[in-house]
């Protein structure tokens, strides 16, 4: 029987949730607010929360100085491309681990995850040399492969968790009906796992969009995404906080909107399998 929740408890829970939510949102709010200040107002002490001369000048300067659309397009291509290829590779991998596990499946899953613990800078030179050797430096395809590979462990783990929830009997029934392996994955497994695949893709898209080590270190003038756009406004010798905030706001806006409209799928993706 479900436990009764009192009104007082509901109010308390809501208040705590809102407080935590606002705390997490505050840096984003502050960035957006700062983007409408002058550089002098941006560093004002005490900080200016609302009552200041709002200006769009920073956005105008950023637009004049940088080709925002080129960076945005690169971000879309890199995040989208790495996500699609990642899922294409991840679905068969997760299928085999979920439905035909071997003795070592758990070890392989853990090993895959352990690669995420490797500091990226530790393999900067080998990857850079490979990129130079194969002419991939500052190309979208090179970065798509790198972003796909670094996020692949998460894709496989998430899909594996989803697939484990699907009754194996259904797949067996399909097999008995004469479905080939390709048909089984494409026409039986995938439609049932669409919500899981969608949330995996969303999360991977966000991770690839925000990736800021490889996208800065393997690009120059052509393939730089929005992370490179933001980095061009950061400076340890000079106050560019308002312009940096405008650039950051422009960079996070698309992903913020995407996240807003798909929050249900995202939450489901992140919590799936946590509660049985």
């Amino acid at each position: 029987m479900a436990r009764a929740v009192t009104t007082r408890r509901k109010i308390l829970t809501t208040a705590v949730a809102w407080t935590i939510g606002l705390l997490i949102f505050f840096p984003i709010y502050w960035t957006i607010l700062t983007s409408f200040k002058s550089e002098a107002q941006a560093i004002n002490d005490p900080p200016l929360f609302f009552f200041f001369d709002w200006t769009l000048e920073n956005y105008s300067v950023v637009q004049d100085r940088s080709d925002y659309m080129r960076f945005l397009w690169n971000s879309v291509i890199l995040a989208g491309g790495s996500t699609i290829i990642g899922v294409l590779v991840g679905v068969p991998a997760a299928w085999s681990m979920a439905f035909v596990p071997s003795k070592r499946t758990k070890d392989i899953l853990l090993w895959m995850l352990s690669t995420k613990m490797l500091p990226a800078v530790g393999v900067l030179y080998p990857i850079s040399l490979l990129f130079v050797q194969f002419g991939l430096l500052d190309t979208r395809i090179g970065l798509i492969m790198v972003l796909m590979l670094i996020n692949l462990p998460i894709i496989v783990w998430m899909l594996y968790t989803y697939f484990k929830e699907i009754p194996v009997d259904i797949l067996e029934a399909a097999r008995m009906d004469g479905a080939s392996l390709r048909q089984e994955i494409l026409f039986v497994l995938t439609p049932m796992a669409v919500p899981g695949i969608a949330s995996t893709m969303l999360l991977n898209f966000i991770l690839a969009w925000n990736e800021a080590f490889w996208t800065l270190n393997l690009t120059a003038a052509n393939a730089g995404p929005l992370t490179a756009f933001i980095a061009s406004y950061s400076s340890p010798e000079g106050l560019f906080f308002a312009k940096l905030s405008a650039a950051s706001t422009m960079a996070i806006a698309p992903i913020l909107i995407l996240g807003w409209f798909s929050q249900k799928q995202l939450v489901r993706g992140l919590t799936f399998g946590a509660v049985k």
Binding site: D45, V132, A220, G224, E237, G238
Partner: protein, 434 residues
Amino acid sequence: MYLKNRLFGATALAMIAATGVSAENLVIATVNNGDMIRMQGLTDDFTEKTGHTVEWVTLEENVLRQRVTTDITTKGGAFDIMTIGMYETPIWGANDWLVALDDLSADYDVDDILPAMRNGLSYDGTLYAAPFYGESSMVMYRTDLMAAAGLEMPESPTWDFIREAAAAMTDRDNDINGICLRGKAGWGEGGAFITVTANSFGARWFDEDWNAQFDQPEWKNALEFFVGMMAESGPPGYATNGFNENLSLFQQGKCGMWIDATVAASFVTNPNDSTVADSVGFALAPNTGLGKNANWLWAWALAIPAGTQKADAAKEFIEWATSKEYIELVAANEGWANVPPGARTSLYANPEYQKVPFAQKTLDSINAADPTNPTVKPVPYVGIQFVAIPEFAGIATEVSQEFSAVYAGQQSIDDALAKAQALTNDAMEAAGYR
């Protein structure tokens, strides 16, 4: 607009035909600061004159350093021109990673480059990077607060005077700190500042045999003085303050004095950004009477990586960007206070530039810095706020973290110096210096 574009294209084509050099597209890696951004805005002038086009890759200083280092060591060839500093230039020049700038045109007048900058950007007498702008460090102080304290800033103050003045100007009730200095960890942040301070106290990073010198009394004296003065008159939390944090404090009238890069002078005297623009004075960086002022020497310079296929066009760009004509172009567009400082002797002979309040002190500070003879005692290295060896950035970052922990009250000066001594000697031994 259409006509303008046609004329622009025709001029570029005429230039290409006249020079016989095909038009190239140059990719330039650079840092984000006011002077560099200004240059990006004026690039059309270069394209108009040469026909070459330019694509900029602007990055934050530390990201840029990592990016261009990776590119040059892996022969990536992603950039045709790199913005590098005095630390990298002699090391990369020695490794033949840069194209020597030994055949610049006569019109360029290479002898006009300030001698300190030319020496710092050369290896074995050959120039490997042309200074776009140069800087030293100096004292910037509030003339009104100094007068109210009944003190007068000497041209070349001692550290004792600075400490006395800082204490006199400190007004905690009104949120005024007598002095603001860098304490932030990082070899180019607080590490640079404490190194030049220690230089003026007679300390050095290494003796002639590359033994670390943090166990010597000069380092302890310097740190004790610094920590004591900052406790009396510095802002709270100075252990995390770097250039930008102090600039922000000074511009808001919360510092009596600030000792930092000479390029900051144009920021603190700019009435659009600074609330104290009309009451700022300048003096040479302090000393202890041992013959060394606590000032550094730095330049952001343009260099050509050896892997580029467009070295000739890249040289043309460097000649344009670091020329006397470029300075005049900036002056015509943005005023003399905004021209890139600290690179050319002729700039300081210009009567218009001499009217800029910080011009002479900037030149005096640069001239007072000697990277080949940076300390009171002899040293085996070149560099004032750094040691021009590849291992320095890693070692100094760790050492500065230990010192920042002292500023934050997390450990004692003795502990920090002992750790600095051990980690530096270990690293130098591993690198084969000892």
